[in-house]
């Protein structure tokens, strides 16, 4: 998948920003990585020293002569292992901090970001952002980032020592290094081309299994389970063949690395052997001894190791960039001030001034509305379904920014409660739900509200009373019962404003009467903003906001006092 250049840019900017936050730790990781390389060089230098001295001693060799090289070896070992430990520690700390901060940013976005846009991603999509997508940052931060420097700097450190010992060997290794990425790029292009050739088929095969799982009930009804599982086996086989065709080429790139590393060791060994034998005397042959020859031989494979590790982490970057491209636009929104926040004013009434309520993405503009709703009055938003009542209610709730104009809530209002048509059921018990907005509500508070709404008999039927779990998929409660239960939750809240969307839509006459009675009583202490097409609601209303359906489905609105 490839996104727009702007998406890529945003993704890169996000990666850059997360790295910037953790710069000290990551720089530390690189420095410790270099220190570890120095330790490694010291270790192999000491080993070559020991072996070279024993086998071709300048004078008669004694064990005491081994002390310095053994000491150097031990010292270098401790430095190398300790530094590597520190490198790992710094890098993973940084990565943990990055993931933690991204998750906190997502929470922040959900708390304060533009509510009306958050619905563009489903809850399941958000969950993948929260889970897997953020986890992919680990590879990038903990491994890729420091390795991109170490892949360059560590070989250079070793090269410096080798150059000091024998410049010709250093030159050969130096020339080999840039060839590796070159070949890898060529191989990568080849793999990409093969990949593209079967793009569509691969995409279909990749989705095959999940599609069949999704349609399992249907397949079972059709008696096609056996056939489908055979098909899954066949398609998986076909998918494997296609994927392998690409992988066979893609793996050539690691073969290239392997080839250079192996051939470098082999040619270093053969050249040094021939020099030491006396068969070659050109070039800087004179500088080679058993000690320097062994040192170069031991360092040659290590020289390629950081490049190899870098190549292994390379796909971490691609994965992190893909994840960052999805996250970046949202996290940018988290920092935007949310314009939908209602403005407080000094007046003691809710004031709507030339207010136009519509989704920001909506092209049509309903006419503006100017209204004043004093304290303890009820505003009824009425009109046929689809005319924009819910949008207006959400605007007043602060969930959607006003398209034009403004509205002001008095300073005095402390808290609002909004009850949508399909209320959210908190996983938990009846009591957990009733206490959602009123953590201190006592059992008798809850009982009395339930009684007012005619739910007491229903509660009595529950096995565990208020502690009975409330399962959203529960078949025991009808839509109307749930509706009233959620209304009870809203009524328990210590709020000065109630925003109710079609609170009586699923109720029978008897229950409706109970709800109307409770709402009438509430008018004495709360602002009631009710969207409803139910004519009975007019008994409660002090102010009206009418919506008329238009052909385009967007409301025309008109205010009456």
């Amino acid at each position: 998948m490839r996104g727009d250049a702007a998406d890529v840019q945003a993704g890169k900017a996000l990666l850059h920003a997360v790295i910037k936050q953790q710069r000290p730790l990551l720089t530390g990781a690189v420095l410790l990585g270099l220190l570890s390389t120095l330790g490694l060089i010291g270790q192999w230098l000491a080993l070559a020293w020991l072996l070279g001295e024993v086998i071709l001693p300048a004078e008669r060799w004694q064990w005491s002569m081994a002390y310095p090289s053994v000491l150097l070896f031990l010292l270098a070992l401790v430095v190398r292992a300790g530094a590597a430990w520190g490198q790992e520690y710094c890098a993973s700390r940084a990565s943990i901090a990055v993931r933690q901060s991204l998750r906190l940013q997502l929470l922040q976005l959900w708390w304060e970001g533009p509510a009306w846009r958050l619905g563009e991603l489903s809850a399941a999509d958000w969950a993948s952002q929260w889970g897997d997508n953020i986890e992919t940052m680990d590879g990038y931060v903990a491994r890729y980032w420091s390795q991109q420097y170490l892949a360059l700097l560590s070989p250079l450190l070793m090269l410096a020592l080798i150059a000091w010992l024998n410049w010709l060997m250093a030159l050969i290794l130096l020339l080999a290094a840039p060839l590796i990425p070159l070949f890898m790029v060529l191989v990568g292009l080849g793999a990409e081309q093969i990949n593209r050739r079967h793009q569509l088929e691969r995409q279909r095969l990749a989705g095959h299994f999940l599609n069949r799982v999704k349609q399992l009930r249907l397949l079972r009804q059709l008696g096609a389970i056996a056939e489908s599982s055979q098909q899954i086996a066949r398609q998986s086989g076909r998918y494997r063949d296609l994927l392998m065709a690409t992988l066979k080429v893609a793996f050539l790139s690691s073969a290239v690395l392997e080839f250079f590393a192996s051939v470098a060791v082999a040619s270093v060994a053969i050249y040094i052997g021939f020099v030491l034998f006396g068969a070659i005397d050109w070039g800087p042959a004179a500088s080679i001894s058993l000690f320097s020859g062994l040192t170069i031989l031991l360092l040659a494979p290590e020289y390629f190791q950081p490049i190899r590790q870098f190549a292994q982490t390379y796909h971490d970057k691609a994965a992190a960039l893909a994840a960052a491209m999805q996250l970046a636009p949202w996290l940018a929104k988290a920092t935007e001030p949310d314009r939908s926040e209602p403005q407080p004013s000094d007046s003691r009434a809710l004031q709507l001034t030339e207010l136009v309520s519509a989704y920001p993405t909506q092209a049509l503009r309903p006419p503006p509305v100017t209204l004043t709703v004093p304290e303890h009055h009820c505003l009824l938003l009425s009109g046929p379904s689809g005319s924009g009542k819910t949008t207006a209610l959400k605007t007043l709730a602060g969930l959607i920014p006003a398209k034009a104009g403004a509205f002001h809530w008095p300073n005095k209002h402390d808290r609002m409660v909004y009850l949508p048509q399909q209320p959210w059921i908190k996983p938990g018990s009846w009591a957990d739900n009733l206490r959602l907005y009123a953590p201190d509500a006592s059992e008798s508070d809850m009982m009395s509200v339930l009684e007012q709404l005619g739910l007491a008999p229903l509660l009595a039927e529950q096995t565990n009373g208020l502690a009975t779990p409330l399962n959203p998929a529960d078949t025991a409660l009808s839509g109307g019962q749930l509706q009233r239960l959620m209304l009870a939750r809203a009524l328990l809240a210590p709020a000065s404003v109630l925003l109710l969307d079609e609170p009586t839509a699923r109720l029978d006459q008897q229950s409706k009467a109970l709800v109307m009675a409770v709402l009438a009583q509430r008018k004495s202490c709360q602002w009631l903003l009710i969207a409803s097409h139910d004519p009975a609601m007019q008994q409660l209303a002090d102010h009206y906001w009418f919506f008329a359906a238009t052909d385009a489905g967007t409301g025309l609105s008109e205010a009456l006092v």
Partner: protein, 563 residues
């Protein structure tokens, strides 16, 4: 726990035992690559030292002979051999992983197919599918990270020990009896801690993910009440836990890397000192001494990535544990007998989802004498819920359902449930060709017959216009199909079959009256002799007067409605 053991056995059987031949080959290739690496460095060391020794003798005027050609080609052979075997190893092991995955998918599919309908309902849930995918992907790592690297390291270790034994028993014993136990100890300690930690971490992440999903569903209400932040404190607490666990995981990993590096360095020094001693005692020559030391150096390349590779064990275990119950659903008893479904009786009393039943008991009765019934009701009156009840494998207490006068287990035993066709409101499209979509589960359907049913549902012209007609791919990566078209393709699919009971839930969705009437006429011959339940929001003009009707609309004066 014995439960865990059964589970482990199951996965080992599926992922390892069933592929044992190829697995051995993959392991052999991994081993070969490692051995070539060791041999390359060892032989190179020997070669350099030998040339240096002989060169020094020659320089001093002595006489000595060294054959340069053979070791030179040996070095080249190992260098090239390593490259080739690494490539072969990677290709081969990835092929194997894909084969394992194919096997797991088939097992999983068959297991899922045995789940009760109520459990399968979650397959419609995007997050459930996401997690299924993630879990499956996690099993990829079993071979490449958990099996091959440690296995090849152990074998290399043993072989190297054997090689040492040729030259010095003390060296071999030290390497095998001190080095190997230390290695195993470090790895065992690491795995013990890491599996548990990573498992817990996966579980915590998963839990946070679920909490996030539920809370996002209530986002609007929680935001307006200013309650979201408070509600999400639970998630924040989980994040702190996750943070702590992640720290411990990384500490574990760094520590075991440290220990492995110390072990490796210590071994190099130990072997070097013994080699020096052996050389001093004249047990072997200088070049051999070097040849013994350098392969130990090359072991580092195998040791270093091990903690990172093994760390995925906990995550894989978490995934395996979640997939296990799905993959190993018991097979339901096979249906016997060839009895035809002749009567269906459903009684419903106070079932919340069909609101009318709260008001009055509902009875639905189909038999060969009264084979058809129209169930009507405005949207939200529970028509689909009612249709679902007839095919669901678990019934709420409020419903009583009898087929041929018998209860569920008896009719399942008789295979009656295989005689039902439900045309539901879900899209029911397979991502596949139009042909496969029509005849999935059937063999021997002629081309002519396929066109015939397409004509009956008035999709013939549309199918003709498709780029590859019947072989056109439908779905996201092919020809898009509208909701109404999907409904009719589903209908056509049933027209190719002979179910006894046909449940049609809003079959004319997206069609105008005239077209609906034509299709209705066209499928009349097929409907003859079957039990038909038709669910519509109101009675259409074209429906024969003989059709009895059961209305789900409420007597609006007394009771609650539901949507």
């Amino acid at each position: 726990m014995s439960n865990d053991r059964t589970m482990l056995q199951y996965w080992l059987q599926l992922l390892v035992w069933q592929h044992r031949g190829r697995l051995l080959l993959a392991a052999a290739l991994t081993l070969l690559t490692a051995l070539f690496g060791l041999a390359l460095l060892g032989l190179s060391g020997w070669f350099i030292t030998a040339t240096a020794v002989v060169g020094a003798i020659l320089l001093a005027g002595g006489s000595a002979f060294l054959e340069l050609y053979m070791p030179g080609s040996g070095i080249r052979f190992f260098a090239l051999g390593r490259t080739i075997s690494r490539y072969a190893e990677r290709v081969f092991s990835h092929q194997l992983v894909l084969e394992q995955l194919a096997r797991v998918r088939v097992q999983l599919f068959q297991g899922l197919a045995r789940l009760p309908d109520s459990a399968l309902q979650q397959a419609q849930d995007a997050d459930w599918l996401n997690r299924l995918t993630t879990d499956l992907e996690q099993l990829d790592t079993v071979l490449l990270r958990l099996l091959l690297p440690p296995a090849s390291l152990l074998l290399v270790w043993l072989l190297l020990g054997g090689f040492f034994a040729v030259w010095s028993v003390a060296l071999a014993l030290g390497f095998l009896l001190v080095g190997l136990p230390l290695l195993l100890l470090i790895l065992a300690l690491f795995i013990r801690q890491s599996v548990a930690l990573n498992y817990q971490l996966s579980a915590l992440l998963n839990e946070s993910r679920q909490q996030v999903i539920t809370q996002l569903e209530g986002l609007d209400e929680l935001r307006v009440a200013g309650q979201l932040q408070a509600e999400q404190q639970a998630v924040v607490r989980l994040l702190a836990l996750i943070d702590g666990k992640q720290h411990r995981v990384s500490q574990q990993q760094a520590l075991s890397q440290l220990l492995l590096q110390l072990l490796h360095g210590g071994l190099v020094l130990f072997v070097a000192l013994l080699a020096v001693a052996g050389y001093q005692h004249g047990w072997f020559s200088g070049p051999v001494a070097v040849m013994l030391v350098l392969p130990v150096l090359a072991l580092g390349e195998l040791l270093q990535p091990l903690p990172g590779q093994l760390a995925s064990a906990g995550r894989s275990w978490f995934a395996a544990k979640r997939l296990y119950p799905l993959a190993t659903q018991p097979e339901p008893a096979a249906a016997t007998g060839d009895e035809a479904l002749n009567t269906v009786q459903l009684q419903l009393h106070r079932y919340g989802r069909v609101a009318a039943s709260l008001q009055r008991p509902l009875a639905l009765h189909l038999s060969t004498e009264r084979p058809v019934l129209l169930v009507s009701g405005a949207s939200g009156t529970g028509k689909s819920s009612l249709a679902e009840l007839l095919v669901r494998d678990t019934l709420p207490g409020a419903a009583e359902l009898r087929w041929n006068g018998r209860g569920r287990s008896a009719w399942q035993q008789a295979g009656l449930h295989q005689q039902v066709a439900l045309l539901s409101q879900q899209s029911g499209m397979l991502a596949d060709t139009l042909r496969t979509n029509l005849m999935v589960g059937l063999t021997d359907v002629t081309e002519q017959r396929l066109w015939q049913v397409l004509t009956q549902v008035e999709l013939e012209q549309w199918a003709q216009s498709l780029p590859k007609q019947l072989d056109t791919w439908l779905g996201d990566s092919g020809q898009q199909v509208s909701g109404g078209q999907a409904r009719r393709i589903n209908l056509a699919r049933w027209l190719l079959r002979s179910p006894r009971l046909v449940i049609l839930d809003e079959p004319f969705y997206g069609l105008d009256q005239a077209q609906a009437a034509r299709i209705w006429q066209a499928i009349q011959p097929w409907m003859q002799g079957r039990l038909v339940l038709l669910l519509l929001h109101h009675r259409p003009d074209f429906l024969a007067d003989g059709w009895p009707e059961l209305s789900l609309n409420l007597d609006t004066t007394t009771q609650e409605t539901i949507s």
